[in-house]
Symmetry: C2
Subunit: 336 residues, 2 copies
């Protein structure tokens, strides 16, 4: 068993947003909890902060103009998918077979409608395909070739698989393959190979929530493994009370039905959002042996962003319209 | 909107099982909630009752001999998968492309370990592959070709796709395809084309729970649609308090995270199992427009089997070792 550091990093924002109506708008995003502090450089940090800021601005503009939470979630996630710094869309990690296989899901809180796709290889923005599944099909979850057939019919933008390739991710796969042959030489025990997922949560001016998550999954994943990101309840969930997007060791998030667990604690136990998220992410999942983080947003505008890794790329804009981005635990209160 | 009959059919068994230790053993199974009373015949009913009885005997024998709940769940589901009367394994429905694509999942309550597979075409007993994913891989959920590659490596029995074919299911696909071209001629609005899933729940002599579900999904499904059966939290869930296997219109079970919702109400609200299952299956899901049923089993041996269709193939054996099977709502108390 490796050392498990449980760093509590929960933020409670009591929002005062009279100008925007009773509750919002609010946008929260993450770019994964796989931050390894020792391997960060000022250049990478600056790049990531800029990308997070761009995503927040794109999403918040939708909310400010009165559009639904779902629009803001999609807009923010698209920016992160298009940015090679994150393990989603362009820049996704490689599976064992040298391919990029992308998963995503989206959920509208008010209607509890949802869409999810797993294992697509030619869809530029998987979050938009997940949304099309939700809005234009009778299904919730599609996989692989079938999901791509649906994407064609729905007019979703397709790209060559090479679009997703980045040299950095390719080298990560080569390292994972080498580590696999010689496990004792592995420097990180493989523990961070599966982080980098992106996600967004929004609360719109009408008081409705939405959640979305997109990922390339786990470096060196095999057998068409599906992680938590496209599993409604595990990596993504939204209802009338609460919205969650998770990022971490997906198997543990599926087993704990992590996103839904947080929202059930809020709804059924009337637990404050931060306590509920803290319990699931920093207590229950580590007890089973997993790690990672999540972002959560309540219908009252409360935000929680717990994680138990070195850092989680994250950002938020609340009622005051100020863009905050953060990476490490000690940045929580100050923002950028 | 079609007429929605919400028939409450909840059974509470207060078990006295001193001979088997404090709590059990108990086995509960279902063979789907897609029963259309007008299309049943005495011959079909007799066949189904016999199959349910066989499944209960196979599973209960494991429990009586002191084996874990997981063994009993797998044994019972295998019997149902091998029986062509049910939409799982042999006798599964056909997808739009004329193939049988099978989904299954299994979960151990004590450890909350889980395994799930979606869209396999050559695995004779999908529940055994789900179990192998849980026990022999670092993953929880595998799909399609990758899942079949894993099955080969794990030594799971493979069959030709033609093994799954039954004339009855083939004709159902032909009818669905015809209805699609001429929707107004459809006799059932397509509402029952997706039922027939099988599942089992067990409580072993050690007081541990397990749950498993297996299905061919929805007749005429497209785009490699994944339903609720292989989604942990939706179609299958087990923890230390509660186990659930669902059968119904899968999209609604994913959106409501149905199985997990029932167990969360038991754990967090301390709601009696029957009330929790009744709320999710007969209130929340119908409110969204879905229908179907579920079986639920508490760590105290309590059983609930709500559904809102004409009938649900189901059966149970509790502390007294007596095998009960039932199809229609009015059979609940008397068993067979």
């Amino acid at each position: 068993m490796r050392l498990r550091r449980v760093i509590s990093s929960v933020l409670l924002l009591a929002l005062t947003s009279a100008a925007q109506g009773e509750t919002g708008p609010v946008l929260v995003i993450h770019g994964g909890a796989g931050v390894i502090r020792s391997s960060m450089t000022p250049a990478i940090e600056a790049d990531v902060r800029k990308a997070l800021r761009n995503a927040l601005q794109a999403g918040y503009a939708k909310l400010e103009s009165g559009q639904p939470a779902l629009e803001a979630v999609a807009a923010a996630v698209v920016v992160l998918e298009n940015d090679p710094n994150f393990n989603a869309g362009k820049g996704a990690v490689f599976a064992h077979d040298g391919k990029n296989k992308l998963d995503a899901s989206i959920m509208d809180g008010k209607s509890r409608r949802a869409g999810a796709i797993a294992g697509v290889e030619t869809v530029r923005n998987p979050i938009l395909l997940a949304r099309a599944v939700m809005e234009e099909s009778p299904f919730v979850m599609l996989a692989g070739k079938g999901a791509e057939d649906f994407a064609k019919q729905a007019g979703i933008t397709l790209v060559q698989p090479s679009y997703f390739r980045t040299e950095r991710r390719w080298q990560q796969l080569q390292k994972a393959l080498a580590d696999e042959k010689n496990p004792q030489a592995s420097t990180d025990g493989g523990t961070h190979k599966h982080f980098g997922t992106v996600g967004a949560l929004a609360l719109d001016k009408q008081g409705n929530l939405a959640a979305g998550t997109s990922t390339g999954g786990m470096t060196n994943k095999r057998y068409d493994r599906i992680g938590d990101s496209p599993v409604i309840g595990a990596g993504t969930y939204a209802d009338g009370h609460c919205a969650v997007s998770a990022t971490g060791w997906g198997e543990f998030y599926i087993r704990t039905v992590a996103a839904h667990s947080i929202c059930m604690r809020v709804e059924l136990l009337k637990q404050p959002l931060a306590e509920a998220a803290e319990y699931v992410i920093n207590k229950d999942i580590p007890t089973l042996g997993g790690d990672g983080g999540a972002i959560a947003l309540g219908a009252d505008g409360t935000i929680a962003m717990p994680f138990n890794t070195d850092g989680m790329f994250r950002g938020w804009v609340a009622g005051d319209g100020v863009v905050h981005v953060a990476i490490y635990p000690d940045e929580d209160e100050s923002g950028e």
